[in-house]
Symmetry: C2
Subunit: 462 residues, 2 copies
């Protein structure tokens, strides 16, 4: 029993449906929405952002939205024992929610074509609701968030998934969002607003494999989907999958024994206890090696990332024009999951990894989490980075996905899944562990155990 997992079979059934009369052409819908509005995003000096002030931190005069603060980080994880960095602080818990509803017996997901100024591909499929508390309390004086009422306390909802999950731990300080999937009854009439459409999970899978079509917030919610355990008594949709997808479904549905789960948790707590992390906020002005001026906040060697200013004009968002700081990483970020068929089932190699902004200090990340800007050179690269150049025939997924385009600029991350031949031997340090997708899903459902980079990849493995 996974009490917090509902709808497992229904999700799998929907994953097998790649066409729907409700959205005959999911590509076209996105293009059409993109064409219907205009966007003008421009980099501007930080000093020119109205209402924002750069002092010990970068913040709005009214204290709203978020701040950029300095961080001093000490850890015995990885090669660098101490560093400074800016980080985004937005302590409120946002809602990332998807409404699902059954049409002709098949679960459909109400997705929004949403513009985010930081994304390379401006308009992507987003969750039904993607709202910070400031958003839904309407700090910016904009329009109300549609569909929010389906996710609020006290309203009628069948919750299929509900968990607080971490956000990007190098870029956000202690940021959590609530990831929710709610099902509304078949007979309930849900209005479909202009930017919204119903997609099956099969359609979403296709968009995910193409890359830059499903935004980060939607991916983290989708990573909460479990296909449950294979059960002879119930109709099996798994038989409809083929090739690598069949292997994925099998890995999702392989039963996890109580002992597997318990020994994995014990290993994970060992990792959490093994490494130290001390994080202190400092003034932006006190960060060694960083330059703060009217233009931007940046590392003196051009490494790590920049905090820049953006002016945004759009016709399809809550407010038409706004200015905000954004975090722009060095290009070339990549995340990769290495998998291998072990005892007949596809297992994935996860890495227990410290990130300064994680609420629980250490979570499971992808096998490889590579940000060229963080390293002085190849001698600094994390273990297994060489598998980013795996032979073409081992690559099962290779797609660019965006990070949260509301805070991050041009943050395109290559998502890679590499399947090792069964006879290929790989040596990984102690903080790496093999697991099925089913076990990984169980850990995701516990809360703060699987980081957003791993979840983003997991969403591509539905």
């Amino acid at each position: 029993m996974q009490p917090e997992v509902n709808g497992a079979d229904d999700f799998l059934a929907s994953a097998m449906v790649s066409q729907s009369p409700l959205t005959p052409d999911a590509d076209a819908f996105l293009k059409e929405r993109e064409a219907s509005a205009s966007y003008d995003v421009e980099r501007v000096p930080l000093a020119s952002l109205p209402n924002w002030h750069l002092g010990d931190r970068l913040s709005r005069a009214d204290g709203k939205f978020f701040t950029i603060e300095g961080l001093s980080v000490r850890t015995d994880f990885g090669p660098v024992p101490h560093w400074y960095q800016p980080i985004i602080n937005q302590p409120e818990i946002g809602i990332l929610g998807i409404i699902v509803k059954r049409f002709d017996g098949v679960l459909h997901f109400l997705m929004q074509a949403k513009m985010e100024p930081g994304n390379t591909a401006f308009v992507q499929y987003a969750a039904t609701v993607q709202a910070t508390q400031s958003n839904y309390q309407r700090v910016h004086g904009g329009r109300a968030t549609p569909y929010l009422e389906y996710f609020l306390e006290g309203t009628r909802r069948r919750v299929l998934f509900d968990q607080l999950l971490s956000e990007h731990g190098f870029w956000y300080l202690y940021k959590r969002n609530r990831n929710i999937i709610v099902e509304v009854p078949e007979d309930e009439d849900v209005p479909v607003h202009e930017d919204f459409t119903w997609l099956t999970l099969g359609q979403l899978r296709h968009q995910l494999l193409l890359g830059n079509r499903v935004n980060m917030n939607a991916r983290t919610v989708l990573s909460g989907i479990a296909y449950g355990v294979a059960d002879g008594d119930r109709p099996s949709y798994a038989g409809q999958a083929d090739g690598f997808h069949a292997e994925l479904v099998k890995s999702h549905r392989t039963p996890t024994s109580a002992d597997d789960l318990s020994s994995t948790l014990t290993w994970l707590f060992d990792q959490k206890a093994k490494f130290s992390l001390d994080v202190r906020r400092t003034s932006l002005r006190d960060m060694d090696e960083w330059i703060c001026d009217d233009d931007s906040i940046r590392h003196r060697d051009g490494r790590i990332f920049d905090i820049i200013g953006m002016s945004v004009q759009a016709t399809s968002r809550e407010v038409g024009t706004w200015w905000q700081p954004m975090l722009e990483p060095r290009p070339g970020n990549a995340v990769a999951l290495i998998c291998q068929r072990r005892a007949g089932v596809l297992q994935f190699l996860l890495q227990a990894t410290i990130q300064p902004g994680l609420t629980d200090r250490l979570e499971l990340g992808p096998t490889i989490q590579f940000s060229p800007g963080y390293h002085r050179g190849p001698e600094d690269h994390p273990p297994l980075t060489e598998y980013l150049d795996a032979p073409e025939s081992w690559i099962r997924l290779d797609a660019i996905q965006s990070e949260d385009g509301g805070r991050f600029s041009k943050a395109d991350t290559r998502h890679l899944v590499v399947e090792l031949p069964e006879d290929h031997e790989i040596e990984a340090p102690d903080n790496y562990r093999w697991m099925t997708l089913g076990l990984l899903g169980r850990l995701t459902h516990f809360g703060y155990h699987v980081n957003v980079e791993a979840r983003s990849l997991a969403a591509c493995l539905l």
Copy 2:
């Protein structure tokens, strides 16, 4: 299935055994150990603590053990929107572990008679191992921690419970400890060192009800014990309980449906998202209303708590003499759980509550968590405080228990369990919720959902 709960029936069976030949007199053992060593604990000025320095924070020259730091707290939970306070910062994850082993078929707990300088009752039953990382890496150059090997990665162990759980959220910043119970096989010879003895859970229950006999660290580990769900096919020890204890066992063993659990989690996430909390570390010198001088760190009105210096001489601890700062609360702290038979089963009223040092911001606490030092007067008291003066006939437990006597001085907390008559109506705000002990146990097993005050009470309800 609760995959992370093992040994449920064995625990219940052990709870019914109130005598054991291995420790014929649990009271006498404690007295004897106390008499065998001498302790001299004396309050000294902070400035006189060797190796400790009071500046922006209070810390050791070598950076070891822990620091006392200033905190600025802003929240919309409770009547005070902003305050300063000192807090203990010790970012490492300690191990609180109990070894259990079957003798004549009955689980026994290997408990240590342990002196802690801050406790009013110096020597109490502690977990088998209670070790900070500094301890077990022997920062203080003392003796090795006995039995630690049973809890370390890579050793043979059957883990019955293993979870990271929060510590006191007003006094510790983001402190988590690993709470573990491991079972060793019946045929494995476990040496019993001088201060150690084997107790059944029934014996421990008796010590818990007496008060000030089982220390906080042992109580939090014991709170991980689940009795599991009643199952007609298995032998039931529940029938052996009588009176109020039978009601407790029933409340533990009442099945929690998937819907109960899921709606409770959703309610809890609602609470976590509803309230804001922003915590910043500041210099001790910058705390409004606080005085830092050579003597102590204290509130100018004598409220909240003091940070004082202690000199400790003992013959039964890792090192014989040491000096350290301690947090000494105002006297009169109390925690209470209100319960009531509802639909035939005892339910407990838990309060979702913000504490500045909690890793996850908000957890479930007791119905009443009352610290007179925190309030200016009765008009400030938290809801339901009047039930601390409930009629005698409603009181099911009234015992003083200590907080962690390694960091807190004279921190005696009255533990109260009040059973309301079935026809008594009580009105609680939205952030309170009724639940069985079984459901509360499930939430404890998730990790950061139940605070240490509630767990301490739960340990008294085994």
